[in-house]
């Protein structure tokens, strides 16, 4: 077995040295009755070539459209990943160390985390960011728990319906056992947060309100006035960003008044990978840092006065604070955070802006082109969106998608599953990978489909 170096001779030699006669004796501290009698009932081993043949056959059962023929978003975005990212992220020195508990021989990982924290904070316009959480949805859970810790007497958290439905579900599960009301704020007529509905809860019990930015429909609302009203009531403002690329163009959460920003970093250099591993982003104000969940890397000096980095404020964490920790998280998404850091380093200040602009422009072009099809309209015609928008179709979105798939096009996400009130609504995402001709092909196929269906 290529991963286990022991030869029979070495095994014998080592057994002898530990004073045992057989491998079985190594397990003599385990009560006899617990020992398995038969081998595990699992498939027999495969050599590597056969394994890949098997895996390719399995992967071949998926039907995956080419990225430029896909218009899928909904929290997971198709962006081009530069080859340099893929090359660097495979390096053993990033892939195979543990959490950098021994900083003298982990400066590489630590400095990357420090740079990741810097970039996440910059992007969000916040003061500090942590070293990553699992993903956007669990980061939102942590954000709410943190807000509750900061506001221990307050019991109401507002979650708008225009937030990613699976994020809402995740948060609902997490908070089920807490003595807290999670209140769903209905959709406004423009597909956003209904200010009137929020108004109903503007009282002392409000701990926090979540603002998806852009929201699940791709809509960018800055809600300046509403945010101020919540703040006036002492409520904390949580921004949740599933497409951080939008921040190359749109005002930062920090500038809009966020106290906590959480989000998903997938769109910044990670493959869709059927939903994970991704990277949960988390940023806040410096004054709240001791209530933050997750690891933090800080700058310091070594015995010779040279600059170096270490994990810090560990007293917040489970391995020190145990049941009173700010979170139970231990293993996080470090390698994904590294990947995002490499990606953002390449994009840089200008690239981040340009790519955002390109995404916005392509989506605007798609809006125009697709709404020229008879019977197809924007669900929310007058709103500002980033690279995603909702179309109203004349027929069932599910069926349309199925037909499009016959033409090897992934047309988007049918919203009926989560928003029956929206009717035949289709969420369409357009990134830099969808060029003009792809958008036009899509329009042609959609037209044919919609008019072909009953």
């Amino acid at each position: 077995m290529r991963y286990i170096p022991h030869t029979p001779e070495e095994t014998q030699q080592m057994l002898k040295s530990v004073g045992l006669r057989s491998v079985a004796e190594l397990f003599s501290s385990i009560p006899e009755s617990l020992h398995m009698e038969k081998p595990l009932n699992l498939p027999e081993p495969l050599d590597e070539a056969s394994l890949f043949r098997h895996l390719e056959a399995l992967a071949g059962k998926n039907r995956i459209a080419a990225p430029h023929r896909s218009f899928l978003g909904g929290g997971v975005y198709r962006h081009f990943i530069p080859s340099a990212v893929k090359n660097l992220i495979q390096r053993s020195e990033f892939v195979t160390p543990y959490t950098p508990y021994q900083p003298e021989i982990a400066q590489g990982t630590l400095q990357v985390i420090f740079e990741f924290q810097t970039m996440a904070a910059e992007m969000f316009g916040m003061e500090v960011a942590n070293a990553s959480l699992y993903d956007g949805s669990t980061a939102l859970g942590e954000a709410i728990l943190m807000a509750l810790r900061l506001q221990p007497k307050r019991k109401i958290v507002l979650i708008p319906r225009c937030l990613h439905p699976e994020y809402r579900q995740t948060v609902q599960s997490l908070l089920k056992n807490f003595d807290v009301s999670l209140v769903e704020i209905p959709l406004s007529p423009t597909g956003g947060v209904d200010p009137g509905a929020v108004g109903d809860y503007l009282k002392e019990e409000i701990a926090a309100c979540v603002f998806p930015y852009p929201n699940f429909f791709g809509i960018v609302e800055n809600n300046r006035e509403l945010i101020q009203r919540i703040k006036d009531q002492g409520g904390l403002i949580i921004f949740c960003v599933t497409e951080p690329l939008s921040l190359g163009l749109f005002e930062s959460p920090g500038a809009l008044g966020a106290d906590i920003v959480c989000g998903e970093g997938q769109s910044l250099g990670l493959a869709p990978s059927f939903g994970g591993p991704f990277v949960g982003l988390f940023a806040t104000k410096e004054k709240y840092v001791r209530q933050m969940p997750g690891r933090l890397c800080g700058m310091t000096t070594d015995s010779k006065g040279r600059r170096g980095f270490v994990l810090t404020l560990a007293t917040r964490e489970q391995h020190i604070r145990r049941e009173r920790a700010t979170s139970n998280i231990c293993t996080n998404q470090a390698l994904c955070a590294t990947q995002m850091t490499v990606y953002l380093s390449l994009l840089g200040k200008q690239g981040f802006q340009k790519l955002a602009q390109l995404n916005w422009q392509r989506a605007e072009y798609a809006k125009e082109t697709l709404t020229q099809i008879k019977g197809i309209n924007l669900a929310y015609p007058k709103v500002v969106t980033f690279n995603e928008f909702v179309l109203k179709l004349p027929t069932a979105a599910d069926l349309v998608l199925k037909e499009l798939k016959q033409k090897e096009i992934e047309g988007g996400i049918a919203l009926g599953r989560w928003y029956p009130e929206l009717g035949n609504a289709l969420l369409v995402n357009v990134t830099e990978l969808n060029e003009t001709e792809d958008i036009e092909n899509f329009a042609a196929a959609l037209k044919e489909t919609v008019h072909g269906l009953p």
């Binding site: 398995m36 059962k61 800055n222 489970q318 994904c336």
Partner: protein, 475 residues
């Protein structure tokens, strides 16, 4: 020669580019929505970026250069094969929002992995959604709470041994349970009587780790499970140390009701400098209704997702867990097969015992019970020379080794917790033993050499107090 490398922000030259993008047009969204102050990301070329990360990477010690004997972390060799498996286009490019029809391959893989893990752990059903061990604990404890709630009383307390990992009490706390700590006995394991003493009908569960964090098998596990069960409680097992038991013991057979797996430990998905991991959870039949959504259902050879499960604890994370890690674990299990998995346990335990034997005359072994996959020493014998565990750990770096886990478990004062794993060759164990012995000698002869270690690393000992006091968390 490892070179110094400033932060990329410090290398910024305004206007320098590392991207390759088409030029966007001129039109923009309405002004009142636009960002006022651009995010200060670095402005560097691709050349700068590549050098930056190559240089930084060279400052790291990694499993791919040598022994990484962090106890409880199971730092085994990570196959390149399984990384390549996860990178297969149709896996890596699968979007999670497409219809079940189009991802039958993924669903089949996860479904089969669930079955494999159930078999390995002796459990009835498995969910693959949790993103790491701790997330698995939370998922498991939420199911336990839902189970009790369904019986009318969610109960109030969870019993956790003093040797447990910090995530156990932290996860229990998020489920709003009060933690009752129970002490290990002089042999380093739990006494049934001690559990009995604290177990009552307001106790929801016992959270146990087996083998425990001293590397010892909780041999009274069956009796303990009975005690807990008798009062209506459930037993949660932290499977972080499952590597010692693969094909040897199915924990479910002991009486464990909920068990989490750490794919990044036992099934060798890489640690990536801190993550990502994956923490599937196995349960016994009675807990199946509470599994998180979605469930994968196999019908007539097709795989479907079931969302509506009235008793489910609900969704634990958007989409489908850390799928890339699931692919790796699946590939690992398929490559090893039943005999290969068992051999992992055998050689992991042999390696740990070999180190233990090699060092037991040099370092103090607080619990002399037979070790499984790891062994825990303390600095008791060295302390009188003024050298402590931390110093020994740092000094090991000068010998070319990553130090073991230190100061954990908390019940051992100055603990040195060594887990070599099965992938380590005898030669490197021998070198490690020799280094540890040489350091013990140094403790006596030149203690200040050890106290001021490391001496050969890229950085000397770092000032952690300063970092916490003069908090600098970003550029």
């Amino acid at each position: 020669m490892i070179l110094e490398e400033p932060l990329l922000c410090e290398q910024t030259v305004p206007g320098r580019q590392g991207y390759s993008l088409p030029e966007p047009g001129a039109n923009l969204p309405p002004k009142e929505f636009l960002r006022q102050a651009a995010a200060k990301l670095p402005e560097v070329s691709e050349v700068d970026v590549v050098r930056h990360f190559v240089r930084l990477s060279q400052q790291n010690y990694s499993k791919d250069v040598g022994l990484f004997p962090l106890g409880s972390c199971t730092m085994k060799y990570n196959p390149k094969t399984t990384d390549a498996a996860a990178a297969l286009t149709n896996f890596a490019q699968a979007h999670p929002m497409i219809s079940e029809e189009e991802v039958q391959g993924n669903l089949e893989l996860i479904y089969e992995l669930q079955n494999y893990l159930a078999e390995i752990g002796g459990m009835d059903a498995v969910t693959c959604w949790p993103a790491a061990g701790s997330h698995g604990e939370l998922t498991g404890m939420m199911m336990i709470r839902a189970f009790h709630a369904s019986k009318g009383n969610p109960r109030k307390k969870v019993i956790i041994p003093d040797s447990a990992h910090g995530t156990n009490p932290a996860s229990a706390a998020i489920c709003r349970y009060e933690v009752v700590t129970v002490k290990s006995n002089q042999d380093g394991i739990l006494n049934p009587a001690d559990v009995k003493a604290v177990m009552d009908e307001e106790t929801a569960a016992l959270m146990i780790t087996n083998p425990n964090t001293l590397g010892l098998f909780e041999k009274n596990i069956q009796e303990i499970c009975e005690i807990v069960h008798k009062q209506g409680g459930l037993v949660y097992c932290d499977g972080a140390n499952l590597n010692a038991l693969l094909g040897i013991v199915q924990l479910g057979k002991e009486g464990v009701d909920v068990l989490h797996f750490n794919l990044h430990k036992t099934f060798s998905t890489p640690h990536g400098g801190g993550g990502p991991g994956a923490g599937p959870v196995g349960v016994k039949k009675k807990l199946e209704p509470f599994l998180p959504t979605p469930l994968i259902i196999k019908e007539n050879g097709r795989f479907n997702l079931e969302m509506a499960r009235p008793q489910s604890i609900g969704r634990m994370k958007a989409y489908f867990g850390n799928f890339g890690m699931l692919v790796r674990a699946y590939a690992y299990i398929r490559e090893l097969g039943p005999a290969g998995l068992r051999r992992i346990a055998e050689m992991a335990v042999l390696n740990a015992n070999y180190i233990r034997k090699g060092l037991e005359k040099t370092y103090h072994l607080p619990y002399p019970s037979p070790s499984l996959h790891e062994c825990v020493f303390s600095d008791k014998l060295q302390k009188e020379t003024g050298v402590k565990t931390l110093d020994i750990a740092k000094r090991l770096m000068d010998y070319g080794f990553h130090p073991p886990t230190i100061y954990f478990p908390l019940i051992v004062h100055g603990a040195l917790m060594i887990e070599p794993t099965e992938s380590e060759p005898k030669a490197s164990l021998d070198q490690f033993i020799a280094a540890m012995k040489a350091i013990a000698k140094e403790c006596e002869e030149t203690p200040e050499l050890v106290q001021t270690a490391p001496h050969k690393t890229f950085r000397g000992r770092l000032d952690e107090v300063k970092a916490a006091r003069e908090l600098k968390l970003r550029y």
